[in-house]
Amino acid sequence: MKRQKLVKLIIGFGLVAVLAISIPLVSGCTSPAATPTPEEEPIKVGIATTITGALADDGRMHVRALEMARDRINAEGGLLGRPVELLTADLGNYTPTELAAVRDTLKSAGVDMVNYNWAVYPAVTDYLMEIDSLVMHHGWVSVDWQEWYDNKDSFPYWMTLNQTEEGYGVPYFQALTNPEMVTWDFPNKKAAIIVCDLDYSVVQAEWWREEAERAGWEIVLYEIHPVGNVEFGAQMAKIRQENPAIIFMSSVISTEVIAAYADFLENPTDSLFVITWVINKPEFWSAFGEQADGVLGTVPGFFMVDSAYTGSNPEYQTYYAKGRAIWDECLERYGERPSLQTICADDSFWVWAEAVERVGSVDDYDAIMEAMFDYPYVGATGTYGFDRDTHAGSYQAGNVPLGFYQIQGGEVITLAVGEGENAGKNIEKITDFQVPWWLE
């Protein structure tokens, strides 16, 4: 009897000991093996992004931008003569355990900057602030930014490239009904709105709806569906009955948009199919090929994907040249077009790199931020002048152009670009609108 207990005891201790030993081994994986001499010690850039989970595609696009930027800068002799090293941490499905792991690994690795896309999940902001290094966030989601803004006194080192979410529902509706852009006689003034139950999408839809109602449109369907929903049969039944001139789908989840559009295609109505953010994602157009032709969308930031900029605006020509370079490199290196995520991540990296070069140090965060405030940065998606209060390069669709797109011939073509408060009314036309094939 005694021996049995002893055996149990030994097994118990053994098990816990094995666990205890294995944990440090695990965490050991992330810490560098040798300490190089100070002058060639790499500058560490942490990437907090989604490698797995539903938004893995965005994460991949994000990481690609930084890989390209790293190689470019290292080929030119590094930043301040030091090589740049990337450290990717996976936000996965945003469970708290994962967030804590991201924070703990990046913090213990001692990163000099954290590059972060967006999560519509303010808790990520809380965790990234605890790393205590400079955070370059490339925006569009005000909840992430708002969480920082509410805590800005305790953590000043947060920079947001774009804080434009609320701005772009209104100009989007304006652009759609702008005869300069959409040359199609609307058969009626009815719109159906399908919204994904995420704050980001709901806010946009609300603004879009308000503007539509102000313009005298009738909203025949305003339907918020659960995140990840893929069955749109009932919604389409209603749409088929009402036959509205516009179907507006406000969702950032590509799967939802693809499913809804697939259902729509089964028996199309006399409507424009209008989407938001997903238009820039290769996920969407790769699912439909030519069948995606005619879908309209918008994305904040100057993002000329498949169409060339032939206008006269010299600023836009600069943006276009930069964006085109990244676009070509991405296509060559990864065999796939970039999404806006890629271009914006690139901008957010170079804003920082330029400021670091100017200051001559990576860890003097105050000086780096001062440099950002003082010198606007001209990137591939716009000119970013950082505001001392909001820490945002562009605020509420302010100084960064807004692009309106249509898929034509399987490619995302820019129809028009607008800027400022009247981004949808006062547009620069780039390409002719095509009446979607199902309306012909």
Partner: protein, 336 residues
């Protein structure tokens, strides 16, 4: 004499507790590892509470992750909107979960097996709708964060203060595990097991099935909810992401890998799965493929779960020796 007997009888558990209590010191407060250990403990308790229901009472509740999340939201929201001190909010999370647990137990009273599973899983499915709809208070899919945490002098209970927080979680976990242990070995626990093993017999002894179903739902939901509130307070955030299938799947695997109805098997399962899933993180996309393969292999090799490992070996050894003995005997008799 009595002390030494208790010591000997629970050598395994006491040894494990001692190691867990001393580990942070040995690790010199390594934040990453301590947070993983804290997660192990939290999931260990949740899985054990769930085991109370599935393993001991054989009530196939699929609502325990929902109870966990309900506890989390209650904890966070009472602090945010009612200004209740965070220490008090944590047990409140448990109470809220227990109330919902008992409410959901009512339609389950007449049901069995998979039918209970479905009704309780219904809570899980419906909960996210309510969280999303009640946007004004729950902030929908964005989740809650930035609420007040427990503070003890200069120490804050948070995953960014791992050393202090680990001991808080350790203390609460040990207390709750002790309660679970006591429940298992009490008359209530015996009634659970009786109902599980032979319902007609248990009924003939005057054990009221309905009463015990309500009790088991109440206790296990309470513990799950309390841990949910603790988890929320520890990580400072709660969101409907927790209701995704992956969490449900992982905790159920922890529980069953350890062995159903074999306290503290669920805790061991939680440690193994949590540590493994952290250890496999560098594999990125292949991580859960490998984890799934490990789970399958382990279960095929050890069908009774990890907790039954010593027993499996023992009974295997006994069977082998028995067979040898029988063979020897029959040779003897046949030679006569």
């Amino acid at each position: 004499m009595v002390v030494s007997k208790i010591l000997r009888k629970n050598a395994f558990m006491l040894g494990a507790l001692l190691v867990l209590a001393l580990l942070p010191i040995a690790l010199r407060g390594n934040a990453h590892v301590l947070n993983i250990l804290s997660a192990c403990l939290i999931w260990g308790v949740v899985a054990s509470a769930w085991d109370l229901s599935i393993g001991y009472a054989s009530v196939w509740s699929f609502g325990h992750i929902a109870f966990f999340v309900i506890g989390g939201y209650t904890g966070a929201m009472t602090v945010m909107y009612l200004g209740i001190p965070p220490e008090a909010a944590i047990p409140l999370g448990g109470v809220a979960a227990a109330v919902i647990g008992i409410l959901i137990a009512l339609p389950c009273l007449r049901l069995h097996g998979i039918y209970i599973a479905m009704v309780t899983f219904g809570v899980h499915l419906v909960l996210s709708t309510f969280i999303l709809r009640w946007r004004d208070y729950t902030f929908g899919a964005t989740g809650l964060s930035g609420f007040e945490r427990i503070q003890l002098g200069q120490y804050v209970f948070s995953s960014s203060v791992p050393f202090f927080s680990y001991y808080v979680i350790f203390g609460v976990s040990v207390l709750l595990l002790f309660i679970i242990y006591r429940v298992i070995n009490s008359t209530i626990g015996l009634a659970f097991v009786g109902l599980r093993d032979s319902e007609p017999f248990a009924k003939s002894l005057g054990i009221n099935e309905y009463k015990y179903k309500l009790i088991v739902f109440g206790i296990s939901a309470f513990i799950a909810g309390l841990m949910g509130a603790l988890y929320t307070s520890f990580y400072g955030t709660v969101s409907p992401f927790m209701l995704e299938v992956s969490t449900f799947l992982m905790v159920l695997i922890m529980l069953m890998l350890g062995g159903l109805g074999r306290f503290p098997g669920a805790v061991i399962g939680a440690f193994v799965i949590t540590v493994l899933s952290e250890a496999l993180r560098p594999l990125v996309l292949w991580r859960f493929v490998i984890l799934g393969a490990i789970v399958i292999t382990v279960m095929i090799a050890m069908p009774q779960g990890l907790m039954a490992l010593p027993q499996t070996i023992k009974s295997f050894a006994r069977r082998v020796t028995q067979r040898k003995q029988i063979k020897k005997d029959s040779i003897k008799t046949s030679s006569i």
